[in-house]
């Protein structure tokens, strides 16, 4: 009772100043709790809260949102129920407008549900055609908007929705706009053989046709076939860029590709389907359901509508995403039992397309994306897949005509196809890592074995894989293991431990362990490894702070090195260092060193590394303090700049990841130049090419080129700012031309350096060839070839990005462009680091 009174008085105050949504929420909460205290014969003095009945709009919204999600309910029944509620309550504005909005969003946000949503509209049409008019109006507007800005995936999805509704359209329905799209594609292809937008349009057309042909509509075979005849030339001709995006490139320069173009496959599939009266057995037909003859008649007699008023712009845009030809990629190609549809099966591309769209569209909620993936069997025809979590070995027992496709394999395959998309996937690589992680978390027992087989396939083929993909695989592998207790059956690769370090498989193992350690620590990783691997992790990796070589009396300039370190620690002023530098240089000259400055640079930079070895913040603070002198060293000569890199990487030789981060920061400070880094890694220290097998070298070179490319991109972004004055524009154009030239030169440094390794032109290599086994020499050449491919592609991508971007119309003002500002001048920003970090670092320093 007391309880009640207290609450009541609180409730009374609620209407006062507090107000707002919070008050309301609190109220309902307290009311629910109150139930527990309710006594039947107690007279409740409070006004009774109205019994809460969920508005129909909310109920239906929930039903629509969860359509087809449940494996135990029949989606056809839900479709019919929802259609009925909608038709009967069309007067309910909240319900109707809510549904129409939901359809517009669901289509592009949850593409797997399109056939089911369309079926609701289809059934609703026979009962309340007005609702169809509303839906078509809104969908038409949305489609037009996406068409105008060139968002082709969304265009494809809206067309898919409309394709599923082909049965309610008058005349040719959707085919008119498909024909229009084709004519644009044909124009584009006519203009240039390198055009890829035309390919995208053809893909949109070809991906729409199966949904039309599996819809309730009939009698459109002629239209479909005539369209297919036209698309054939475009879809089946190999695109010049296909070799660029081949995941398993031909080692022969200019040789044919090993992988099939997804578009050419799709064209073939559709032609096959046309011959087989459009069986399309994997697609769902939620409009079918069980109906009385009467209802069936109503459906056929339902009012027809004209196709929404949509026009394809005369000049079609590439849109925000660069378009490259798509290659069909599967990690389950080499198995004795077919666990995913083979590339020659229509289902392969139809399912893949829907899954990759789902993955890419839902990047803002990886959990939901993963849920869709694990529920894949709900969204396709029944019996498309075997039951979930069927073990691989049990697939042998599947008899008759039934497919042996494992849903887990199909989704893992789709996720990998996106992670390993060339030249670049739609999102950051780590997104795809996270989707795979979530999928594993949702269904560990089912997904883990599928992942295992995927890993084995990728590892088996790592030597013929594109180098960039091998790096992505490596990065994913280590990151994935870090989320699952670092457990992997290392025993199965034990034999490969004896391979030479430059063998791609051995290199993979070494670098995978290194990456695991970077995310963890070496003792932990050692604990997960069988004996033969232990030797791959040196004792030195255990040390958090590597030894300072000048602490060893036998190191030349040991005393001066220690002195420099002390001075850096006590934050000596720049001038104080000068005498020590002079001393080292005099002694070095006296002992006959040709470039004495290198000795002082080494002592200085090594000391910075040692003093800063406590943490990255310490290292950065040290660099910041010594910036002035470092800049002076850097501007002295290219040899000095290279010595800085040598000293850093030598100090961090057992934890190369840290070294690379420091070099990255030195690049930001412009203490190092991109060219220095590239020459150092690919010419001076490449060691006949052995460095090319190291991931840290790849990372160093990639981050350097990325910085340079980022600078070009930010200038392009600036040029494309609306309302730019002419002289400013000219200025930027000049800057761009200059940066483009710099970028070109840098890429040609790489090209020349790795090209000469590929072609075996290294002098050193000739001399030492007797010591080197022929096998190893071939491996090094192969590394050179792989590097050359990757960086040629990176250059081509950047170059074409600039051209495409500049050819686009300048956007209307208000548009905000988010271009990453990797300007090298940003050092000022990075330079404020010390001040902010200062306290923590100082405090720590004093403890020493």
């Amino acid at each position: 009772m007391a309880d009640y009174d207290r609450r009541r008085s609180r409730g009374g105050g609620r209407g006062g100043d507090d107000g707002g949504g919070g008050g309301g929420g609190g109220g309902s909460h307290f009311n629910n709790r109150k139930r527990r205290y309710r006594d039947d014969d107690y007279e409740d003095r409070r006004p009774q809260r109205r019994r809460y009945e969920e508005p129909l709009a909310v109920t239906v919204r929930k039903q629509v949102l969860s359509i087809a999600e449940s494996p135990v309910r029949r989606a056809e029944d839900d479709v019919a129920t929802i259609a009925k509620s909608l038709a009967e309550n069309y007067f309910d504005h909240d319900l109707t407008s809510g549904f129409v909005d939901l359809v517009v969003h669901l289509t592009v946000e949850q593409p797997l549900k399109i056939p089911f949503i369309a079926a609701i509209v289809l059934l609703g049409n026979s009962q309340k055609p007005e609702l169809t008019v509303d839906v078509l109006g809104k969908i038409g507007e949305a489609l037009q908007r996406r068409l105008d800005i060139g968002e082709w995936r969304e265009v494809k999805l809206y067309l898919r929705f409309l394709g599923c509704l082909q049965g309610i359209f008058e005349g040719d329905g959707i085919f008119t706009i498909l024909e229009e799209l084709f004519s644009r594609a044909a124009d584009l292809q006519m203009k240039s053989s390198e055009d890829s937008l035309g390919l995208e349009l053809v893909k949109v057309i070809l991906m729409t046709i199966p949904y039309i042909m599996s819809s309730s509509a009939s009698g459109f075979e002629t239209q479909a076939s005539s369209l297919l005849e036209k698309t054939d030339i475009i879809a089946s001709t190999a695109h010049p860029l296909e070799t660029l995006v081949d995941p398993f490139p031909n080692p022969e320069v200019g040789g044919p590709t090993s992988s099939e173009s997804a578009l050419a496959l799709l064209q073939k599939h559709m032609q096959e389907e046309a011959k087989n009266s459009w069986e399309l057995s994997c697609l769902p037909r939620p409009w079918k359901g069980t109906r009385s003859a009467e209802e069936e008649d109503a459906l056929t007699a339902a009012q027809k509508h004209s196709f929404p008023q949509v026009t394809v712009p005369q000049v079609v845009q590439t849109g925000p995403r660069a378009i490259y030809p798509d290659v069909y990629f599967s990690v389950y190609g080499e198995q004795e039992i077919e666990t995913v549809p083979t590339a020659s099966d229509t289902a392969a591309l139809l399912i893949r397309d829907a899954l990759s769209d789902t993955i890419n569209v839902l990047d803002f909620n990886r959990m939901v994306a993963a849920k869709f993936l694990t529920d894949v069997d709900c969204y396709f025809a029944p019996d498309t897949f075997v039951k979930r979590a069927t073990p691989f070995d049990k697939l042998r027992e599947v008899t008759g005509d039934k497919p042996t496709w494992k849903p887990e394999d199909v989704i893992v395959d789709a996720a990998f196809s996106q992670l390993l998309q060339l030249p670049a996937p739609e999102h950051k690589l780590v997104y795809f890592h996270s989707v795979l992680t979530e999928t594993c978390k949702l269904a560990p027992a089912a997904v883990a074995p599928s992942l295992g087989r995927a890993i084995r396939y990728l590892y088996r083929n790592v030597d013929r894989m594109d180098l960039e993909l091998a790096q992505r695989f490596l990065d994913w592998f280590a990151h994935h293991l870090s989320n699952f207790g670092f457990t992997w059956k290392w025993t199965e690769w034990v034999d490969d431990v004896n391979l030479p370090d430059v063998h791609p498989k051995k290199a993979f193992i070494i670098d995978a362990l290194d990456k695991e350690i970077r995310l963890s620590f070496s003792k932990r990783i050692k604990g997960t490894l069988p004996e033969p691997y232990q030797a791959l992790i040196s004792e030195a990796k255990d040390k958090d702070e590597p030894d300072f070589k000048y602490n060893d009396e036998s190191t030349p300039f040991s005393a001066e090195g220690q002195q420099l370190a002390q001075m850096i620690r006590r934050k000596a002023s720049n001038e104080e260092f000068t005498p020590v530098f002079e001393k080292i240089e005099q002694d070095a000259a006296a002992s006959g060193l040709t470039d004495p400055a290198l000795a002082s640079t080494d002592a200085f930079v090594t000391s910075i590394c040692w003093i800063g070895s406590k943490s990255l913040s310490h290292a950065l603070a040290c660099i910041e303090r010594c910036k002035e002198r470092l800049m002076a060293i850097s501007s002295a000569s290219s040899a000095c700049r290279k010595q800085i890199i040598t000293s850093v990487m030598d100090y961090w030789k057992d934890q190369t990841g840290v070294g690379v981060v420091i070099l990255d920061k030195l690049l930001n400070y412009q203490i190092l130049t991109p060219a220095t880094v590239l020459e150092w890694a690919l010419i001076d220290h490449v060691a006949r090419g052995t460095l090319l097998a190291k991931t840290w070298c790849y990372e160093l070179v990639s981050l350097t080129t990325r910085k340079v490319a980022g600078r070009v991109r930010s200038i392009v972004g600036a040029i494309r700012q609306p309302g730019l004055a002419d002289d400013r524009k000219d200025e930027l154009q000049q800057a761009l031309a200059h940066e483009m030239e710099t970028m070109k030169n840098l890429f040609s440094i790489i090209e020349d350096a790795v090209g000469s390794i590929r072609d075996g032109n290294q002098d050193e290599m000739m001399e030492s060839s007797d010591a080197l086994r022929a096998e190893e020499e071939d491996l090094l050449k192969a590394w050179g070839g792989k590097w050359a491919r990757v960086f040629q592609r990176k250059y081509a991508v950047e170059d074409s990005w600039v051209r495409e971007e500049l050819s686009k119309p300048i956007p209307e003002p208000e548009v905000k462009t988010v271009t990453k500002d990797t300007k090298m001048e940003e050092v000022q920003v990075a330079g404020s680091l010390d001040g902010q970090n200062g306290t923590a670092v100082d405090a720590d320093d004093q403890i020493e």
């Binding site: 949504g21 990047d363 780590v430 990255l616 902010q836």
Partner: protein, 178 residues
């Protein structure tokens, strides 16, 4: 009013700032491409946020480990470790600052809630680091949540400190093992 988005986004800030500011940023705000509902964004202190608060780290997780994971979402401009106010040792949180807002959002989406050093970490958009915020605000110098935690967490110094102190006092008074 119904939400027009069908799937919740993971790159929304937690209620930390919204509660602080006593204002509501609808989690269900319509997408910007719909052109509506932007009025709340005008004065949203997090609309350009490039910094993340990262929580539930192990005390033993190093800057290098954090850098390795978080640089997967973009170049890191600054990393500030959370320290015990008195001991100046890591106390299980940090601030990661990126160069762009997009990188920070991506980090919320792709890294928040995944594991680092075998712990599920938490990320939250943050208005930006300020001197002083790197220190724990708990009574004994660490984070507040580590004062009264009654579960043993080996990655975060065992039992909560207040609980632990009480435990020790009891042991002293009544002898160990009670």
């Amino acid at each position: 009013m119904q939400s027009t988005i069908t799937v919740e986004r993971l790159d929304r800030p937690s209620t930390y700032y919204t509660a602080k500011k006593k204002r509501k940023y609808g989690r269900d705000q319509p997408d910007e491409r719909d052109g509506a509902g932007n009025k709340a964004e005008e004065d949203d202190p997090l609309k350009d946020a490039t910094t993340l608060y990262v929580g539930n780290l192990s005390f033993y997780t190093t800057e290098e480990q954090i850098h390795e994971l978080f640089s997967k979402c973009g170049e890191i401009k600054r990393l500030v470790m959370g320290l015990d106010r008195f001991q100046k040792t890591p106390c299980g949180f940090c601030f990661v600052e990126y160069y762009t807002h997009q990188d920070a959002l991506d980090c919320m989406k792709y890294i928040g809630g995944t594991k680092l050093d075998e712990r599920v970490i938490r990320t939250d958009l943050d208005v930006g680091f300020q001197e002083g915020r790197q220190y724990g605000r708990g009574k004994s110098g660490g984070q507040v949540r580590d004062e009264y935690r009654d579960e043993f967490d080996p990655g975060r110094g065992g039992y909560g400190r207040a609980i632990d102190a009480e435990r020790r006092k009891e042991e002293e008074e009544y002898g160990a093992g009670k």
